[in-house]
Symmetry: C2
Subunit: 454 residues, 2 copies
Amino acid sequence: MKTVLFSETLEQQIRAAIKDHDLDQLSALLTEEHPADIADILDRLKHDDRMRVFRHLPPEQAAEVLSETDVGATRALVHSLTPDEIRILFHQISIDDVVEILGEDLPRERQELLATLEPDEARAIRAMLAYPPRSAGRLMTEAFIRVQATMTGGEVLRLLQHSGQDAENINDLYVLDEQEHLQGVARLRDVLAAPPERALNDILEHSPVTVAPETDQEEVARLVSQYDLLSLPVVEVDQRMLGIVTVDDVLDVLVQEGTEDVLRLGGVQSGATDETYFGVPIIRAIQRRVGWLLLLFLTGIVTVNVLELFEGVLEQQVALSFFIPLLIGTGGNTGAQTVSTIVRSLALEEVRLRDVWRVVGREITGGLLLGILLGIVGFGLTLLLGNTLAVALVVSLTIVAICTWANVMGAVVPLLVRRLGLDPALVSAPLITTLVDATGLTIYMLIAKLVLGL
Amino acid sequence: MKTVLFSETLEQQIRAAIKDHDLDQLSALLTEEHPADIADILDRLKHDDRMRVFRHLPPEQAAEVLSETDVGATRALVHSLTPDEIRILFHQISIDDVVEILGEDLPRERQELLATLEPDEARAIRAMLAYPPRSAGRLMTEAFIRVQATMTGGEVLRLLQHSGQDAENINDLYVLDEQEHLQGVARLRDVLAAPPERALNDILEHSPVTVAPETDQEEVARLVSQYDLLSLPVVEVDQRMLGIVTVDDVLDVLVQEGTEDVLRLGGVQSGATDETYFGVPIIRAIQRRVGWLLLLFLTGIVTVNVLELFEGVLEQQVALSFFIPLLIGTGGNTGAQTVSTIVRSLALEEVRLRDVWRVVGREITGGLLLGILLGIVGFGLTLLLGNTLAVALVVSLTIVAICTWANVMGAVVPLLVRRLGLDPALVSAPLITTLVDATGLTIYMLIAKLVLGL
């Protein structure tokens, strides 16, 4: 059983072999390993060592490793290779992997590298690179099984005997007409179960789920997972078939999109899809954060103005200022909870735009319940800390109001962003927290003025 | 092409057919649809309408729909069915789907429902339910292809002709000995490419990746995605094969885990894996949030004490209190960014425990850079708002210190939680924000005392 522990030992063994210049040992360690495991180790090695290990791999294995390394390692490796070496490597891996490397990892070197490839290959890659990043067109492969409706089961099996090895998925046989239009899909299991002389026409599924090459990878993943597909055909408007997106690419997409969702919720702009923590130069990591941080900082300046506005109230009751961090913090936490719930529900299409009033109703109720509960606790604690009944009342009423308000903001802002045609995942927890800060302070000060008669 | 828009229209058509009591139209609408699409619509219908549509489905389709509905709809449907009806439905779907329904959706009714099933079936289901929730044992199916090493390619094809239809994956043929020990895996594409008289023994992969039935579903998903598998064999310690986890279950796992990660980062405890926003009663949704919210509220009380402690400083320089929300807000935002980055990197194993000092070094540098940048902006803005040079200096120095501190906390707390053997995803953005609030205020007040000589 291969486990992470085993793979860590492998890393240590490889590091030891490099240190001892024991090349035989290095070869012995690498030959049996899966390319994905070798790639994980290369990601973590210093560049000189990485190159040493990489050059030690047979071309076929090296090519597969290259398509699995993270963006930093891929860039460094390609920069150290000669054009000839790159051509040989790219020739070994499937075209969608080459497109991923050129599109995500090496956008600047793209033209230069394409020039070193064979014209036919370069043309096919250029066509795929013309589709938008993160679209079905970028993920698809042409290595699918093409059949005709008139073929019998026996003919299909003979076809698979010769060309099955190169196809990415042999379960789904795509029936095309002479102009390459998709007419239907036959499942290999149905072909095997039917008599060998039966034509595919009889066991065909005529309207399979398809996508356009421009379809976003998130929608591709949703369809593959909704319909339990092993591959999803990509077709032009006229049903001309371009390729398939296979389920292993969809697994990668789901992991990438999961990373993006978590980072965005934390207020970090996401970068290339195969970046790792240590693989990104620190300056680039800072660049991904500074935009949001600065915007939130500038928005936060409003809180200074709000408090200046109520300077008189704060001077008369200094105790009120002690509760500021607690109150806006509670509002921020409530808002962060709601925004994570809503953003996810929107992504999974559990909540749609037309549900907006149902959502608002639900979040007002939820916020009130949470606020009343925390308000009661807050009332008792404020008194315990030696404050007057009036201050305790102000604090607890503010908690109720802020929780309700934050709950509604956390739901409405993502819905509003979706209404504007943008991705609701742009709404981060820090954004809601910051928005709730200024409004929460205003609510606090107004309640204080009202209750204390200031 | 099936799209969401189409599916929404279907929902409207179904609602109209129910309203008009047009049963023929209802049947016509449903027969062609994919069970997953019907399930999505049932999730959103009122219970009476849901039952009406469900009873209108032929048993086979109904069973598949039941395995796709969300937890709320599944519970409601099962409660309205007779034991006989349930037995018929459960008999139609694969055993892993029954286990999922009984384990996740109907834990209370489990025993009662098991009693209605046939003894053999009930025994198999009980065995799977004995494995921990979210483990490989709960996800696996026994519907895999068993072969012997001595079988020829031709014999395998004849086997598939008869039993291929019931298997969940026909690509991977599992070679077992007489005691059901896993000896290797043969790929169908290799079988098809080899001469029909060649024995499997020659084309066998001898040590495939396997998992134990107790393995967590997150690790299962990681392995399937790392090695691009279509199914992963589940074996006992002695290599006796129990079943396979198929890639379509892994897709569901990744979506579920993605939801859980986003909710946890927002400070919401997650519930059953197939819950939807509207499917959860509001009281239960509140229960999932109130624990964290209350804990954070009580932790936040410390900020009140900190400010009381520095009451003298705040009274001498009232202007200092105006900057409190801005400063702790900035600290919270910085910490939220870091925690989302680190939690995700830990989940993807890009960062490991032994990297702790590299991480701390990186986050100190990053925090300093961000802090200096925001500090310069803050210095200018504080002066612009009419404050003294001294106050501007206090504010900007605090920004530098708080950003660095929050950045380190956002990285160290998840690593510490992992060190304690817990899941780092427990560390939410609100938790870091709350922790940074109290310490940030102390830093602010200490810098103020030092610079202003109070």
